[in-house]
C-alpha cells in the first residue's frame, strides 16, 4: 500500500448556466482586460489515497467522485494522477 496523489476536477455541464463564471467574466473589462470568450468556474479536488496500485486508487477516486464530489445531474468530472 502506498499513498497515491490524485486530482479530481469537477465542472458544471456545458448546458448548465454558470452565473459565477459570467460575473467574473463581466468584471474583466473593468480591469482593462479583453472580455473572455468563455469563463467557467469549477472545483479542483486534491486527495491522497492508500492503494496497492495507481489503477486501484483511480478507481476508488472515481467512485468517490460519482458518489459525493460531483452531482452527475449538473456536473462532469475528470480523475487523474497528480
Amino acid at each position: 500500500m502506498a499513498a497515491v496523489k490524485i486530482v479530481v476536477d469537477v465542472m458544471l455541464k456545458p448546458e448548465i448556466l454558470d452565473p459565477q463564471g459570467q460575473a467574473v467574466s463581466n468584471a474583466l473589462p473593468n480591469l482593462g482586460f479583453a472580455t473572455a470568450g468563455s469563463l467557467r468556474i469549477g472545483k479542483h479536488v486534491e486527495l491522497e489515497l492508500e492503494a496497492d496500485t495507481d489503477r486501484a486508487a483511480l478507481d476508488q477516486a472515481t467512485r468517490i467522485a460519482e458518489t459525493l464530489l460531483a452531482n452527475p445531474v449538473i456536473e462532469d468530472f475528470t480523475v487523474r494522477l497528480a
Partner: protein, 225 residues
C-alpha cells in the same frame, strides 16, 4: 392523539424552530430529530428545514444527504412517509435522489429575500391537498441557490405527470426552469419547495398565513389515512 411531525436539525439548519412552530400551529406535535440519529422515533411525517446544512460545503445538501437520519428518511419515504423539504431541505431531497433535478446558483447571483406570489399547480400531493388547484398564495422566498434545473425530458415528465407543485408568479426570483418553485415525487408523498411556508403562518411575523396549508394538508391526509 395528534399527529407527530419530525423536524430534522442538521449542523447549520436555520429554520428548524420556525418549522416546529408551524407544525404546532397547524395542530400537530413537532418532534425534533437530530441529523446523527438514524431513528425517526415513529414520526408520521418529516420536514427538512431551510438553512445551510454543513455550511453548504461542496454543494448545498450534498453532505447532509449522507447523515444517518437521511438513510432512515430515504428508506421510509419509499414506503410512503410524507416528507417536505423546504429550501435547503429541497436541495437535500434532490441530492438524495428522492426528487429529480438539482438546484443551482440563482441566475442573477443575488440572494433574493422577499414575499413571493406562487400558484399551486398540484393539489394531488400529501402536502398540498388543502389548497385549491391554481390558487395563488404569498409566502417568503429567501435563497441564493434556488434555480431549479433538470433535463428537458425530466421537465416534460414532471409537467405531464402533474408533479410541478408550485410555480413563481409575478417574477421568477432565481431563473428556475419553467418557473418551478416546488415539485413532488411520483407518489406525491415527497415534496420539495424553495420558498418558505413556515414563515407565513402568522400575521404578526409573515406576509399572511398562506403557508399554513402545507402543514394542515399533511395533517388532514394523516388523519384520514
Amino acid at each position: 392523539m395528534s399527529a407527530r411531525i419530525g423536524v430534522v436539525t442538521f449542523p447549520g439548519s436555520l429554520d428548524d424552530r420556525d418549522a416546529q412552530r408551524a407544525v404546532r400551529l397547524s395542530g400537530a406535535e413537532p418532534v425534533p430529530l437530530w441529523h446523527g440519529d438514524g431513528d425517526l422515533h415513529g414520526v408520521d411525517a418529516v420536514v427538512l428545514p431551510g438553512g445551510f446544512s454543513y455550511g453548504d460545503y461542496l454543494r448545498c445538501g450534498a453532505i447532509a444527504r449522507f447523515a444517518p437520519v437521511m438513510n432512515a428518511i430515504v428508506e421510509q419515504a419509499a414506503e410512503g412517509l410524507p416528507v417536505l423539504g423546504i429550501c435547503n431541505g429541497f436541495q437535500v431531497l434532490c441530492e438524495s435522489h428522492l426528487l429529480p433535478g438539482a438546484l443551482t446558483r440563482n441566475q442573477n447571483l443575488h440572494f433574493v429575500n422577499r414575499d413571493q406570489r406562487l400558484r399551486v399547480d398540484s393539489t394531488a400531493t400529501l402536502w398540498t391537498g388543502g389548497y385549491d388547484q391554481g390558487q395563488e398564495i404569498v409566502i417568503p422566498v429567501k435563497n441564493g441557490e434556488g434555480c431549479y434545473v433538470a433535463d428537458e425530458r425530466t421537465l416534460d415528465q414532471l409537467e405531464a405527470e402533474g408533479r410541478i407543485v408550485a410555480r413563481y408568479v409575478g417574477g421568477n426570483p432565481n431563473g428556475s426552469a419553467r418557473d418551478i418553485a416546488g415539485i413532488a415525487n411520483e407518489r406525491g408523498n415527497v415534496v420539495g419547495l424553495m420558498p418558505h411556508p413556515e414563515h407565513a403562518v402568522e400575521h404578526l411575523t409573515g406576509p399572511g398565513t398562506d403557508g399554513l396549508g402545507f402543514f394542515t394538508s399533511v395533517l388532514k391526509a394523516l388523519v384520514s389515512a
